[in-house]
């Protein structure tokens, strides 16, 4: 596919297939188009030409992008993007606002997720009272609250020290394996990409090569 963000051809002929439950790392120098690829997969941007499908469903035929995102995708960002004036628990619940379903159920699930991620003591803390690693774990819980099919993570360990980075990476890959989620991660850290099932190398908007654990 192609994706033109108006200034440059961010993606210039990308052809990629990702299997369900795969852990794919997308690597490459800055400007290689890896973030753009993630955005397009995450429906945050639309390709200028080309086709995307997700489980037989064509992206171009999606009526309500938000609904699609909510049901299928969970995002994790490098700078966490938590809402500073909400507690950890409230942050996790945020994606459920406006959905059908009981508030208390969502709240219970949020609590479960946070406890699962080792944040039992931090449920009501505000982000400024949490460490970097803790914040990213809150973000992971938030990404999981609506039971997505895939997690898109843009440099999730970029702002963390090595100890926390490893911890977060462990959590992510374990949960992905556990729930059968597809995990697509953009990273420039080789130790991170080494954990993936498949590595996709990008340069100048094209896929240079891929190699995976299985190949």
């Amino acid at each position: 596919m192609h994706f033109d963000d108006g200034q440059t051809k961010a993606l210039n002929g990308v052809d990629l297939e990702i299997g369900a439950g795969e852990f794919v790392a997308i690597v490459g120098p800055s400007g290689s188009g890896k973030s753009s690829l993630l955005n397009v997969i995450g429906t945050l941007d639309a390709p200028s030409s080309g086709e995307l499908t997700f489980q037989e469903q064509a992206y171009s035929k999606i009526r309500d992008a938000s609904l699609f995102r909510r049901e299928n995708i969970g995002f994790i960002f490098q700078s966490f993007h938590l809402i500073p004036t909400l507690s950890a628990l409230d942050n996790v619940v945020v994606p459920t606002i406006g959905c059908a379903g009981s508030e208390s159920e969502f709240r219970a699930r949020a609590e479960d997720l946070l406890i699962q991620l080792g944040l039992r003591e931090r449920l009501h803390h505000f982000p400024n009272k949490l460490s970097g690693g803790e914040r990213q774990r809150v973000a992971i819980a938030r990404a999981l609250i609506n039971r997505p099919r895939m997690i898109l993570a843009d440099e999730p360990t970029g702002s963390l020290d090595s100890v926390n980075a490893t911890q977060v990476l462990d959590i992510l890959s374990n949960i992905a394996k556990q729930e059968g989620l597809t995990l697509i991660m953009v990273t420039h850290d080789a130790t991170v990409s080494a954990r993936a099932d498949r590595i996709v190398k990008m340069r100048d908007g094209k896929i240079e090569n891929t190699h995976g654990a299985t190949s």
């Binding site: 309500d64 938000s66 004036t85």
Partner: protein, 375 residues
Amino acid sequence: MNLFRFALDNLYRRPARSMLTISAIALGIAAVVALTSIAWGFEASWQKANDARGTDLIVTRIASENTMPSPFRSEKVQQTLEAMPQVKEVVGLLSEMLTVSEDSPPVFVFGWVYGSYLWDHLKLMDGRWPNERMEQVVVIGSLASEMLHKKTGDHVEIEGANFEIVGIFESSAVVENGALLMTLDQAQKITDKPGKVNVLNIKVDANASEADMNAIKAQVRQALPGFVAITSGELVRKNAVVRLSKAMSNATILVASLVGALVVFNTMLMSISERTREIGVLLALGWQRSTIIKLIVSESIILSLVGGAVGILIGVGITWGLEHIELMRGKIDAIFSLPFFFAVLGLSVLLGILGGLYPAVKAARLLPSNALRHE
């Protein structure tokens, strides 16, 4: 955590800005409440006076923009009215606005037919009523007694004639409470208007219907050219001062609404511009565009509703204060009704919606990828 709490939280984030916005709306709403209550209150107090007296219709000379319609000889007009069907009783009165004391503003002086039903609804607090038609005495309302610093037994000079105050009364109508009351004969004497009244009060039969009243009005138009039969409220409605204050209150409603909506508009626009990245995150997390709109509009409605409520309190305070100024005492009876307050709150909500709509739609139309790159 739900949309409402989230909206509230967002407003708490910028307390100074939220307070400023609420204050601006509150001031506008306060002005609306004060002016509207006074404008309608003036009319209501006269209507109340008539209702309290038990008068159904009043007959006066047409086309008078002054508070008091011009006086006329009552004999023929009264006879014509008494002959009309469903008319039970016709009683004349004379009213003037006169200065009776050097250090007080002018007061209402009423002359009512001695022994007529007009006196029935008053409550005598002290002293006595006039004993007969020509007695040169006056009874004063409790408010008038306060304003003039006079009590039973004191004397007051009205148009050069010395009147003894023989009693103090209380009335449910503010206008009467601040007035001096004497017999019609005495009022005619001191104003040199023998046989004249400026208003004829009509009491209709108990079983008279709305249609019967309209029939009387029509008959008066026909049989008495230059005269009109109206309810007291309608009379005051025509008065130039009342029309002016109503026009002012309408203008204030318009201006305050515009200003209120603009203030909310500006605040919300600033707010979403600062939260661009956050809105991008919300969209990425799966928030629907309609939910974003609901969030922003909720925030603006909360602001305007709180502003409206505060404004109502301030407005009531202002009106209460005005009612107690020397000049205004006994003249206005501001009316505050629950439906009115609900209407004002409804207006506030409308302001919030109008002001917040464009910023809400603007926020909802952000492209998540661009928004995330912001800042």
